[in-house]
Symmetry: C2
Subunit: 337 residues, 2 copies
Amino acid sequence: MKIVVDAFGGDNAPLQVIKGAVMAKKEYGIDIILTGSKKEIVRCAEENKISLIDLEIYDAQDVISMEDDPTDILKQKSNSSMAVAFKLVADGVADAFVSAGSTGAVVVGGSLIVKRLKGIKRAALGTVLPTKNGNFMLMDVGANADCRPEMLAQFGIMASAYLKHVAGIENPGIGLLNIGTEETKGDELRLKSFKLLKSSPINFIGNVEARELTEDVCDACITDGFNGNIALKLYEGVSLSIMSMFRNVFKQNLKTKIAASVLMPGLMKLKAKFDYSEVGGAPLLGLRKPVIKAHGSSNAVAIKNAIRQAKLFVENDVTAAIINGLAEFEKVEQNEI
Amino acid sequence: MKIVVDAFGGDNAPLQVIKGAVMAKKEYGIDIILTGSKKEIVRCAEENKISLIDLEIYDAQDVISMEDDPTDILKQKSNSSMAVAFKLVADGVADAFVSAGSTGAVVVGGSLIVKRLKGIKRAALGTVLPTKNGNFMLMDVGANADCRPEMLAQFGIMASAYLKHVAGIENPGIGLLNIGTEETKGDELRLKSFKLLKSSPINFIGNVEARELTEDVCDACITDGFNGNIALKLYEGVSLSIMSMFRNVFKQNLKTKIAASVLMPGLMKLKAKFDYSEVGGAPLLGLRKPVIKAHGSSNAVAIKNAIRQAKLFVENDVTAAIINGLAEFEKVEQNEI
């Protein structure tokens, strides 16, 4: 198995990406290709005394930045580290793709270079968020601002296949993010999506309210990309902001600092819960090959974990599972007509 | 001035509502009508040794519950405490309405009994959420699941008038909740709403990202009722859930309990930040008369604060300010055609 990693994606590239790739290579024994300026990768590795072992490097002079228009990946930035990585997957040189770079560019490159599976209306991005006792996947978190009901139904099928085969959840519970639990709640999009999800070949548990999301009510929560992106950023924003408010209470004076130090072991565990590096990357589902978007602020461990997700994606053939789920759904739909 | 209060709305009715009404009457020197079973109100007051002073009571045998369909307020529950309160406002007996009862019923009763202002497409519910150094109003938080761009523009005008005249903010900054700050970001609804808000007679500060909401970036954030309701409940759910995670760290053993007790003064301040009773109620804007929806779990202080909001709403004639803002906006729109 060969996984291509965009060495120049993310806030901590290339150092942390190189480190993560080397860790993954050693730990999982898979082949890894790095894309990006060969000169800079070699120099960075030497400066940091990292042995590149037998990682392959494909040279790419450009880098697509957060400021670039995502569609630049097809045009001015078609020789960027990310574009070259996508082409290696599209051409079958690599089996899966990992990048911590621009989300928009990953969505455009994934959809238009790797391309969508036949029958899939839109690729969707799923991200894992912490709950009281574990986590859940929120999907779509921003690949598609405007969604139709058929798209949300497909997201449910894709999330179910991914969680079963990558996260190892036997019969994942899939919910629809809504403003009430009753079938009659929500806007037009939700009302129609509910009906489709109900008839799809997954364990659809019905509507899920935003307030319950932290309470381990479902394994994946389906929504449109606009609402999902707002929910994701609010989840992050509110938790970071409350954490920082607590920190201010702890730092108030010597007495509070000493008190906080007693609480530190528990607080560190809490912090780890909200640590992206533990969770890994977000899969962009519905494509012909596995594409994993790692968090922009990924460190080496986060990159390694994203590579592990890509490996499980390939090994357990999530793509085939999605195709099967889709075929089954279409059969049900046809029978109903 | 006379404000009508639904004595049987909310989880803590009628006791906390009666207490709050008595407090408001004493503190603000305004006239208050309570609606609901006169017998039960009098008995509850006697049992709790509350002097009803000269509060008026309008008898209403029924109560609209959270389980009732909101439209029942027009039919089976037209003699409920909430319906009677709405009619007193519609008939001009009272100047403003306060209830901690079913949000859905408040929206239906407000829109169809009190009725919308001429030209207002939909009434919208605005709620105040805490930020690092203050708070902001999120609107609409659920009165309208499906929204059109003209509606979002009107929400902006209404929120601006309310914040100026009730919260005393000179030139409120109004943002549009979106998945990016650039004008080109978002779904169809956002793209069109941005243009309308930009040409409206308010201090429109552009798109606001969900991650920034806790950072005091705007005085009001405008969105559709579906997305706003999800954002509101996520805000509540994530903060409550993190608070409870911290509590578990504090309660772990004797040492951590002692440490937590040292931090208590700071932690209590933090808790107060998220306390609904301090903030008061959510205005339902765009109606002929002021309607305030208090939080379902309101205690006496929260009810008193909601009555205070209603009082400021009447005193500072927010309704006239909304009418003026709307007229100004229509002038701009016509000039552009």
